[in-house]
């Protein structure tokens, strides 16, 4: 039964159904109002329901069309490092300050590529740190400390 479905369409449809259901159900907590005076819940409820229905349609459109080609495997290392760097940046920019965060962030994201050696990543990180500090902190006057309070500055 499941084998006859396209997994891609099923997953895409599933995401839309879940997202639609979340928005519609959450919208019930707000005042829905009438067509004349719509409350804050009216549009999200309507659109959430539409999205869920579209999701069912997307999933159904994969019926009898199983995936033929296998997609490339995702680069888990890339995902972990890139998203990790973004979260690291947000979590430490106030505490560590601009220079260390940019250096570590650049090194981490450069390592996301399988063909970058640690030495290349370190050199790139050094270069990017100088460039970013020159552009954003010196050039554009971004208000952020070079080295943050966690480093005793």
């Amino acid at each position: 039964m499941l084998a006859k479905f396209s997994l891609r369409e099923l997953l895409a449809g599933g995401i839309f159904v879940l997202a639609g259901a979340y928005f519609a159900l959450e919208a019930l907590n707000y005042e829905v109002g009438t067509a004349f005076r719509m409350g804050p819940g009216f549009m999200p409820l309507l659109l959430g329901a539409v999205l869920a229905m579209l999701g069912i349609g997307v999933a159904a459109s994969g019926w009898q069309k199983p995936d033929t080609e296998k997609p490339l495997p995702p680069s888990w290392r890339g995902i972990a490092l890139i998203i990790g760097v973004v979260i690291f940046f947000g979590a430490t920019i106030r505490g560590l300050g601009f220079v260390p965060v940019v250096f570590i962030g650049a090194f981490g994201s450069a390592m996301a590529s399988r063909i970058n050696s640690p030495l290349f990543a370190a050199l790139l990180a050094a270069g990017l740190t100088v460039l970013c500090t020159a552009i954003f902190v010196i050039g554009l006057g971004m208000t952020v400390p070079w080295f943050g309070p966690w480093l005793g500055q």
């Binding site: 804050p40 490339l72 890139i82 973004v86 920019i93």
Partner: protein, 501 residues
């Protein structure tokens, strides 16, 4: 004042040394991201949006506009030299341009692309100057029902032009609309979908969404399959076109410009469609159609003119109605709003210097692009040897720094990560990200105008059909969907977009 007077005013703004400088920076950056495959104008403009905060409105918008049309230009260089479209719209240029380069005629192909683009850019800019004022005047009479209908039209036409499943594109639009509703309700102030997080009261940050979906998701996608690229042509000679070649490109350039100017106004990526349409038109009209695919100069001249003309005319809906035709224009809306200006029909009257300054700067920008691209071509060839593995870390950092610098809000940075993953998953599942961003920008406007219209009509939805303009616009929207669903057109769309992937 007549149009000459207004253009004079525009040039006085655009020729201000500071504005020329920013125009130059814009087209330079645009050419750079256009030349480098893997970074597009959408991600670049999103990253630079925060920086423009400190500039004057004219300088900021002139620079951002320059990035967009500069990228259309730069994309063709990559397409011709390494058979890889730097931009999606130059995918067609690669077909014949690369063949010309292989035969040692890279210089001719590049010169054709540059001259065709300059001509198209000039015409597109003039059309913008002539058609924007009357359209803006007409738009001043628009009430809430008309705006609602117009937004619906914009959203629905964008699916007709998107490639892939129509159901998925519709779902992406609706998801975008819903994400746009996160934050306080405009009428009652009720916080919606904020998960109790205070930072979400003012809504999701537009830059985070754009950078996440277009920048980070794209990087994750590229990391799946890493490979180097070869530049075949190390130096480019023979930029001057002979008389014979000049004659051959005149008609394709004019036809490409006309096609591009019309299709550019359509929402949802008219510039991509324009270059494909121009290529197939030239192939059909040519006396030697067998030459196409083996280095026909017409196959470079037509599509390059078309995508550049479309790049200019796609500013028309933005400048007159405040409705963005595609994601880059949606970012321009963001840029206007950052500067405290609501884009729309009022800009032309309230800020004539800004409006005409932007238009005049586009012509200057096109001129700068010819100078940048022909004599400095060697520089861009060298740029192509920068590997992607050295570029993407810079993109990740610029994205984080840029987002953080808008409000010093770390929550905006986390949002990049969230939308990066969401965008990556959806792209892998075959959903295009552009409709989502369009929906996200237009969501609040759609809701506001719908609610206002319903209050005016005392809850009667017939108001949209009783008013002639809104009824016509909704009729066109319905037509766009019907056309998109028709089997014959579906097949055609597949053919047109097949080469892009």
């Amino acid at each position: 004042m007549d149009i000459i007077g207004y253009l004079g005013l525009g040039f006085s703004v655009a020729l201000d040394p500071i504005n020329i400088l920013y125009c130059f920076i814009g087209v330079l950056l645009g050419t750079l991201v256009g030349v480098l495959p893997g970074i597009g104008p959408t991600a670049t403009i999103a990253m630079l949006l925060p920086i423009t905060f400190s500039l004057s409105p004219a300088a900021a918008l002139i620079m951002l506009a320059g990035i967009y049309y500069g990228a259309q230009y730069g994309g063709s260089t990559t397409a011709i030299l390494i058979n890889l479209p730097g931009e999606s719209s130059s995918a067609v240029t690669a077909i014949d341009g690369y063949q010309m380069a292989k035969k040692g005629r890279a210089g001719h192909a590049l010169a054709t692309a540059a001259l065709g683009s300059f001509f198209a850019g000039t015409v597109g800019t003039l059309l913008l100057a002539f058609f924007a004022p009357p359209l803006a005047r007409a738009a001043l009479n628009f009430g809430a029902p008309e705006y609602f209908a117009l937004i619906v039209l914009g959203l629905l036409v964008s699916i007709a032009l998107a490639h892939g499943s129509i159901l998925k594109a519709l779902a992406m639009i609706v998801l975008g609309l819903l994400l746009g509703m996160v934050g306080q309700d405009i009428y009652t102030g009720t916080p919606r979908f904020t998960l109790g997080i205070r930072e979400l009261y003012s809504g999701l940050n537009f830059v985070s969404v754009a950078v996440g979906i277009f920048g980070v998701a794209e990087i994750l996608r590229n990391l799946e399959n890493e490979k180097g690229r070869d530049v075949m042509v190390k130096s480019v000679k023979g930029l001057w076109l002979g008389k014979e070649e000049f004659k051959r490109i005149i008609a394709p350039v004019i036809r490409g410009t006309a096609l591009g100017s019309i299709l550019g106004i359509l929402p949802g990526g008219g510039h991509i469609l324009a270059s494909f349409a121009s290529y197939s038109a030239e192939k059909r009209l040519s006396k030697q159609p067998e030459e196409f695919g083996h280095g026909a100069i017409e196959g470079v001249a037509g599509p390059e003119s078309a995508n550049n003309a479309a790049a200019q005319t796609s500013f028309i809906p933005l400048m007159t109605l405040g409705i963005p035709a595609h994601p880059v224009m949606a970012l321009m809306v963001g840029a206007f709003i950052l500067q405290g200006i609501t884009p729309g029909p009022n800009v032309i009257n309230d800020q004539p210097a800004l409006f005409w300054g932007i238009i005049a700067s586009m012509w200057i920008g096109n001129l700068l692009l010819v100078l940048l691209n022909l004599p400095l071509i060697g520089l861009w060839v060298k740029m192509l040897s920068i590997p992607y593995r050295a570029l993407f870390p810079a993109i990740v950092l610029f994205a984080c720094i840029g987002c953080y610098s808008i409000n010093q809000n770390i929550f905006d940075v986390f949002a990049i990560g969230f939308f990066g993953i969401l965008g990556y998953v959806l792209i892998r599942l075959g959903c295009e990200p552009a409709p989502l961003l369009l929906g996200f920008v237009l969501g609040p406007l759609l809701e506001e105008h719908l609610r206002r219209a319903m209050i005016i009509s005392r809850g009667d939805p017939m108001v949209f059909l009783e008013r002639p303009i809104s009824a016509t616009l909704l009729g066109l929207a319905l037509l766009a969907v019907i056309i998109a669903v028709l089997p014959s057109i579906r097949k055609k769309r597949k053919e047109v977009f097949v080469e892009e992937d």
